[in-house]
Symmetry: C2
Subunit: 388 residues, 2 copies
């Protein structure tokens, strides 16, 4: 059991109509606010107007950067950092889903660097400073609202890189489940697949760690399995949206990690997929997850699958461990592809074998992904083939 | 489902040999450190020497206040605040269990007040400032290491009052499970009863709130039930001590509360007991808990007991809810009094009916305890009688 440092200082306003606190929170950091957002859905749902009103009421000066894409590009990071430098911005306000939040964190960091922001992703320069980031979340998925990480894509090099820098931790996040009412079925399902995979990447680990954290993870997974279908059927069900939103945050804010040595598997594989095919992250994870589970199941790892199957899916504890394990993989497939209705194969989404070798090579960085079961390039190609 | 603000910024160093970070953490706040502790057990286990060494290495100036009692007295708060004012202390270092930590928080607050610290407990003065508090925990029980509350006794008035002030939140806490190896069976058991009751006070609530938090609470309770007996049998079992320590923290740091309207029941009753009889808090809670459960079980509340019994104790879901409920009370009694070996009645610990009326009157503040089931003075007397 390894030591760890728990350090998650983000303050969260959870629930409806909490934006009355936004002006005061922004004002702690200065007068000039850069609001970042995506394609304009926040205008459709009236969120943009509410935020602008609060900023005006607080007497702050508003700057804007819109058009941040899903799988956010380094170009957006550079564009944002340019505004911050030129306008001497004091605080960043990210309004949107994980892509907007991730991009905004790097804008905050890149403001303190004079070159191309991609150098930060390549770890060529240290990241010791970041403008304060406040977020208003509109999608339950990535957990970016309460962690210090972010993933940025570079379409020129077809790379997608995710890093964590403590200075990028959001100071404050506003989580209003009603802002996710308009998230469509597909993105609701992808969000659920994403948060579920965040937990599985930590949970499936043979390091001995705190039982209490396994219990917490099992509880979070049960919550996703219970409420994602409800949110699909009733998009404005507050109970479902609230449970999914707070669960997605805690799936990846670091609490459940404890002292486990962390090495994720599905995420590095999926990042290569999105980098080339620009698919939705949660969809790529959904397709990979059950194949990765099947590929990593063996006599050594079966005990973890047994724990998962009995505690999360309530599979009969009296069955043989290997039987429970296989059944748990069936049940998670069923959840992802039948209940959530996500496409189940690469073929269905137009991905063939063409790039498997290069993606696998990049995913394991020409070496080995040291996760739950270590995966080399051939292993990853094998998993990709299982997804066809 | 109510809104809430999540705000728990305490940084925690969890595990063995983390005190190498203590000097740097203290130094952030200044040069003059007041270390507070209890009766000297920290000297016996070598912790005192380690801490003094780290403080010397960091070039800090050390002041001390020892002799803080269990059920800490307001006299200790005043004594500590006097030192802080006289010596111009920059930062407080509380080393011990919940009593030392609670007392130290109020020392930090009372430093900014010129009168008797009891005025703070009587809420006669606002608490807007507190010296920074850093803690080194040696007992898994109260959760004071990661919350902003504390309970102080006044032997003269026979009052015991607990309040929460955000400014008292510890900046940093060091949680080393090995420091609890020497905690004897009785206090290990009382600690387990305390943390279990902290969760039950929140869990048993008919407000609709986040399912995910109920799942987390069930996980924490399962952890206590699994590991408290192990710690009793093998006091130096790291896995057991670590699980109990981190669970006790999360039982009461505020996370599990969500948006529930909070009104605790057993704690106000127990505080009156300790105020008069100076018993160990966890023991008082242990005796009260199953009686309070029995007293509050009815057709309205049975659904919560059913959830508790099936999810925490694994009682057969096919049984009638009332049967599950009664069985769950039996099982918790069995856990507290047989497994943990705690005394099960007031009579055994020398408490009779003499003060029931006055304690009940104080516990409900001459009105009604508005908890899981509202309890008036007569209800509380009835529960006390069930404990005889």
């Amino acid at each position: 059991m390894n030591n760890f440092v728990y350090d998650i200082p983000t303050r969260v306003y959870f629930g409806e109509n909490q934006l009355g606190n936004l002006g005061a929170e922004l004002s702690k950091y200065g007068k000039k606010v850069l609001m970042t957002y995506g394609g304009g859905s926040i205008k459709k749902i009236g969120l943009y107007d509410k935020i602008v009103e609060e900023i005006q009421k607080a007497g702050l000066e508003l700057f804007e950067l819109s058009g941040i894409d899903p799988n956010p590009r380094v170009a957006s990071v550079n564009a944002g950092a340019d505004i911050c430098k030129k306008e001497d911005i004091d605080v960043l306000l990210a309004v949107g889903g994980g892509s907007v939040l991730d991009c905004t964190k790097y804008i905050g960091a890149a403001t303190y660097y004079d070159g191309d922001a991609w150098d930060i992703l390549l770890q060529k320069v240290p990241v010791d400073n970041c403008l304060p980031v406040i977020t208003v979340l509109t999608l339950a998925a990535t957990g970016s609202e309460m962690d210090a990480g972010g993933v940025i894509s570079n379409p020129e090099t077809k790379d997608k890189i995710g890093l964590v820098f403590p200075v990028m931790q959001p100071k404050v996040s506003f989580l209003d489940p009603t802002t996710t009412y308009t998230v469509n079925k597909f993105h609701t399902a992808c969000g659920a697949a994403d948060m579920l995979n965040h937990i599985l990447e930590v949970y499936f680990n043979m390091d001995q760690d705190l039982y209490m954290l396994d219990c917490v993870m099992e509880g979070l997974m049960k919550t996703i399995i219970k409420y994602a279908p409800v949110a699909l059927e009733e998009p404005d069900n507050y109970e479902a949206r609230a449970n999914l939103m707070w669960t997605s945050t805690w799936a990846i804010n670091g609490f459940v990690n404890g002292g486990k040595r962390q090495a994720w598997s599905c995420h590095p594989m999926e990042h290569e997929l999105s980098a080339i095919y620009d698919i939705t992250h949660g969809l790529g994870l959904a397709i990979l997850t059950p194949r990765w589970m099947e590929y990593t199941l063996n006599e050594t790892t079966v005990s973890k699958f047994y724990q998962f199957g009995t505690n999360v899916f309530g599979i009969d504890k009296n069955l043989a461990p290997m039987e429970v394990a296989k059944k748990s993989i069936e049940m998670i497939s069923d959840f992802l592809f039948s209940t959530l209705g996500l496409q189940s194969t690469f073929t269905e989404i137009g991905i063939d074998e063409t790039n498997f070798e290069i993606m696998a090579k990049k995913a394991c960085m020409d070496s080995v992904l040291p996760g739950f079961k270590p995966l080399n390039q051939q292993d990853i190609v094998n998993i990709f083939k299982m997804c066809l």
